[in-house]
Structures are given as C-alpha cells and as structure tokens.
C-alpha cells in the first residue's frame, strides 16, 4: 500500500522521480510533508510542556492545561489518521478510511472530554456513551454500504480470474493436443496411406515386368503408377506442411540448420535450444524462422544473416536478422499470419525493419 501514498505528508525520498523535483528546497533530506509534521509535533510537545510550567508557576490547583493537551492532541491525531487513511487504496476503501479516521478523532475528543469533565469538574453524565454508540453505528453502516459493491466486485474478480485460469489452461491443452495430433497425422500419412501407395507402385512394377509382351497393358500399368506417384507426392507435401520430417525426427536446431543451409545465405547460427521443446513451440519457432529466411532471401539483398535460438526465463527466444535493405512491412509479410500462431502460445512477435538498416524478427515463446 505504501507505494500508493501520495499525500504530501508522505512524500519521502525513496519514491523516485516526482519527489526529486522537491529536493532543492528540502532541509536536511526531509520532504516538505515530513518537515511540516516534525514542526507540528515539536510545537505541540513544546506548548504542552510550556503550559504545564505556567500552570505550576501559577500555583497549580485546577489542571486546566489538560484541556490544552486535548486541543493539541487533535491536530497530531488528525495527522496520523489522515495519513493512514490516505495510504489506503484509492476509491471506496480510501473514502471509508477517511470517514473512519474522522470518526476516530471525534470519538477520542468525546471520550477525553467525558473523562476530563468527570475527573476535573466532577460532572458525571452518561450522554457521551450514546454519542459514541451513535457514531459507531453511523460509521459501520456507512462502511457496509460503501464497501458492499466492492465485496461483490472482489467476488466477481475471483470468478473472472478462475475463468481466465481455466481458459488459459484449456487453450494450452488444446494447442498441445493439436500439435501432438498433427505429428501423429504426419506419421500416419508416411506409414499408412503413403506406405500403402508405395507398396501399390511396387506391385504394379512387378506386374509390369510380367506383361512385357503386351504394350497396351503396360501402358495402363504405367498410367496407374504415375497416378500413384502423384498421390504419394501430394501426401508428402501435405505431411511436410504439417511438420517437416527433420523437425519431427531431430528437433528444432537440426531443422533450422538444414533450412539455413538450403537457403545458402551463409547464415550464422547460435543455438541453445534443445530437444525437449513442446511440439507446438517447436513447430511455431520453425515456421517463423522459415518465413523470415524466405523474406531475407527474396527481398533483403543481405550480405549477412543470423539466427539465434536461446532460452531466457522459461521462454524460447528466436531471433532472425539480416543486414539487408530493411523496410519490410511487418503486417504485410507472411509473418503477420505467424503472429496469430505465436500469440496463441502466449508468445510475442516483433519485426524491426528500419529502411536501410536490416531486418530483425524476434519471437519469444513461453515453454513450460
């Protein structure tokens, strides 16, 4: 709560920039508020002692300075209670705290007056008890009304947080399941449909060898084989689009190295990322690198390019940069499409491409 304090009385040196503006006019390293308070406290204490001395010199008797103490205690008390109230969080809570502070001061005045009239003047009356009771009732009712919506809000906020937690958790599960499913589909395409088609071309090949003397049958078999080969090629492209085989087989670093080698840009690679990445993170990081390298090869006219895969505070950082012409349109390139994928993983994608000073694509993906 202390960081919310804004009352001048609580401006202290440690609170940073806004306070420093006051520095030149501060005495002995105190803020204006602290200075005023220390003056107030000293004046009050001094006056109290002075009055006792006058009372003693005056021949003692009726302890009239007690009334002055009461008077002096009020501003000091107000100073403390107001300071406390102001430190409460802004809004309803602070309002209620202010009411409590004032009511507290009023209650103290009442109590002390009651005690002093009783002790010093011998007046024994019961009415202040009713006043105190009334005050307490009023303040309590006010607090209840003022904080009523706040209690509801706190409840609502708790429910909201629980909902966000649930959505975050289920989204993560859905993405993880989806990524695992895609890998399974990729594997199934290779080992299932594609393998069967390969077996089919093999059988057709064997059949072809046996009908060497029948050109019309051979042509038919040839056509069938061509169709099967096309189907195999389409399945392969489909599987590669889901997850490139090297990524599935050997992980992100190997896949990125192969990708960079294929572009022949002499890309410098620094990689810390290891195999234990979640499939969804791995695939997204891979497709970001692929897209960035494609852009570099196509548009950048770069002499150098580099890729860094590092871990920082439970996130995978992917950085792809080049020293080309820059000026890439972060929203227009294929990277905009990847942004959605990155954000679905609670990640962040940024593209920096000032004209003439290269392009840097930076992605952070939380993992674990």
């Amino acid at each position: 709560m202390s960081e919310r304090a804004q009352l001048p009385g609580d401006l202290s040196l440690s609170r940073g920039a806004p306070t420093r503006r006051w520095m030149p006019i501060l005495a002995a390293g105190l803020s204006i508020g602290q200075y005023a308070r220390s003056v107030l406290h000293r004046v009050a204490a001094l006056t109290a002692v002075l009055l006792v001395a006058i009372w003693a010199l005056d021949g003692q008797g009726y302890l009239w300075p007690a009334w002055a103490w009461l008077g002096l205690a009020v501003p000091v008390l107000l100073d403390y209670t107001a300071g406390w109230a102001w430190r409460q969080s802004p809004g309803a809570v602070r309002r209620v705290a202010c009411v409590w502070a004032l009511a507290g001061v009023a209650a103290v005045i009442l109590l002390l007056t009651w005690m002093l009239t009783w002790l010093l003047a011998g007046v024994r009356e019961f009415w202040p008890a009713w006043a105190l009771f009334g005050l307490a009732t009023a303040v309590s009712s006010y607090s209840l009304f003022a904080l009523h919506d706040r209690v509801l809000l706190a409840y609502g906020r708790r429910a909201l947080r629980a909902r966000i937690d649930l959505l975050t958790r289920t989204r993560r599960q859905v993405i993880a399941t989806q990524a695992a499913e895609l890998r399974r589909i990729e594997r199934d395409l290779h080992d299932g449909a594609q393998a069967r088609l390969v077996a089919l071309t093999l059988q057709l090949g064997r059949a072809e060898m046996r009908v060497a003397g029948q050109p019309d049958v051979r042509d038919l078999i040839h056509d069938a084989q061509r169709e099967a080969r096309h189907a195999i090629g389409e399945l392969r492209d489909l599987a590669r689009g889901i997850v490139p085989p090297l990524l599935a087989d050997r992980g992100l670093v190997a896949a990125v190295e192969s990708l960079a080698a294929r572009y022949g840009l002499g890309t410098e690679i620094v990689a810390e990322a290891h195999r234990t990445l979640a499939p969804a993170v791995e695939s997204t990081a891979y497709f970001v690198v692929a897209e960035a390298l494609t852009n570099t090869a196509k548009h950048a006219d770069a002499t150098r390019s580099w890729i860094r895969l590092t871990h920082e505070r439970r996130a995978l950082l992917v950085l792809v940069g080049d020293d080309g012409g820059g000026g890439a349109d972060a929203e227009g390139s294929g990277l905009a499409g990847l942004r959605a994928r990155v954000e679905a993983l609670d990640g962040h994608l940024s593209v920096s491409s000032p004209s003439g000073s290269g392009t840097v694509v930076e992605v952070s993906l939380p993992c674990g």
Binding site: D191, T201, Q203, E208, M209, E257, A261, Y263
Partner: protein
C-alpha cells in the same frame, strides 16, 4: 548379390523381398529395427543393406544412424537408404567421408523396377545414387541472379537430377525420351555453366555434381 532388408512395414518388406527374389537377388535377412540390422550385417556379411529411415524403436532417423554405423563397421558395405521424404541433411551425413556404395532414394522409386534394380546394383558395386529430389531440394530456394544454378534451363536441371542418381547417358536419355546425343549436349552445357571439369565416368560425375552442391564436402 546378397542383400539385407531393414523395413518395419511388413507389406512393403514382403513386396520388396518378392521383387528381389524374382530378379535373382538373394535376400539373406529381413529385419524390422536398427539394432537387428547391425546384428544381421555382422552375421551375414551381405553386399548391400536396404534400410528404411524411420525404424523402431525411435521412429525418427534410426535408419540413417544404423546405416552410418553399419558403414563404420564394414566400410565396403553398400547401403541403400529408402525414405518417404528426402532430407539433404541426411544425404550429407550418409555420404560423409566415404562416398562409395551409398544410395538415398525415395521409396516410390521402387515402382520403376528396372531403374530401381539398376540403382541397387550400382550401389552394391560401390557407386553413389542420390534421389533427384535431393538435387531439387538443393536447387529450389537458391535465388539471386549471380547464382550459377539459376542459369540452368529446366531440361538441364532434369538431366542434373538424373545424373545425381548415377545414371548413364543412355539411361537418362531413355528416362527423358530424348536421344543420347541430346543428353550429351545438356551435360556439356551443365558442366560449362557450373564450371566443373568434364568427366565421363558416371560415378565421378555424381561426385562432382554433389561437391558442387556442397553435399559431399
């Protein structure tokens, strides 16, 4: 020729065994995973191992690792790796230091029985056979007008791809349905454009092309 086959899909394995036996190639062992491949090679000392890339237990690059290990133990063993997809990284690793007796083909090439058996024999005899897709992949995204590869015509690229499979001029001509003379002309053009020393030996020609593509560096 004595062959060991490592393929986990029974359908394909059996088809392959039948195909080889029909063509008088002896299949001495059929296995389903990497470790049994190494045992079979040690036990049978075959001329050639036909290996699927994705094998149990890991179902990732088990076949590549087993093939490399088998070659380390028996350097004169021919290894033909079959895969549903082509990865240039795997091609580079397979070729490694020792380019003799290595093949890396897409599985569907089995369908062209004659070319497949031809490739098998070349690998067993110490030749190098790389799928044309390896070349396609290496050529595909390279851009820029200064790139020598971009100066090749579509036809020349096709010839280059078939050359990587270690085919002879006659085989290339047959596959593209052109005359051997035309193929000869394309090859001369390719070597001139890529600034490679001309050579007529099919195997050395593959190596020159691969070295150019930085596969066998």
């Amino acid at each position: 020729m004595r062959v060991v086959i490592a393929e986990d899909l029974a359908l394909l394995r059996e088809g392959l065994v039948a195909l080889l036996r029909e063509n008088d190639i002896e299949v001495v062992a059929q296995v389903e995973d990497g470790p049994s491949l190494l045992r079979a090679i040690a036990g049978h000392e075959p001329d050639l191992a036909i290996v699927d890339v994705r094998l149990p237990p890991s179902f990732s690059d088990e076949g590549i690792l087993a093939a490399i290990e088998a070659r380390r133990r028996q350097p004169d063993l021919g290894v033909l790796v079959l895969s549903q997809y082509v990865e240039t990284a795997y091609a580079s690793e397979l070729i490694g230091e020792n380019t003799a007796g290595i093949g890396y083909l897409l599985k569907e090439r089995i369908g062209d029985v004659r070319a497949f058996l031809d490739a098998l024999r070349r690998v067993a005899a110490g030749g190098t056979v790389l799928d044309r897709q390896v070349v396609t992949q290496l050529l595909a995204p390279r851009g820029g007008p200064t790139d020598a590869l971009s100066r090749l015509t579509a036809r020349e690229r096709e010839v280059l791809e078939l050359m990587a499979e270690g085919r002879s001029n006659t085989a290339i001509a047959e596959s593209l349905v052109v005359t051997p003379g035309a193929v000869e002309k394309h090859i001369t053009n390719i070597f001139a454009k890529l600034d490679l020393p001309a050579c007529h030996d099919d195997h050395r020609r593959v190596l020159a092309v691969l070295a150019y593509l930085q596969v066998a560096s």
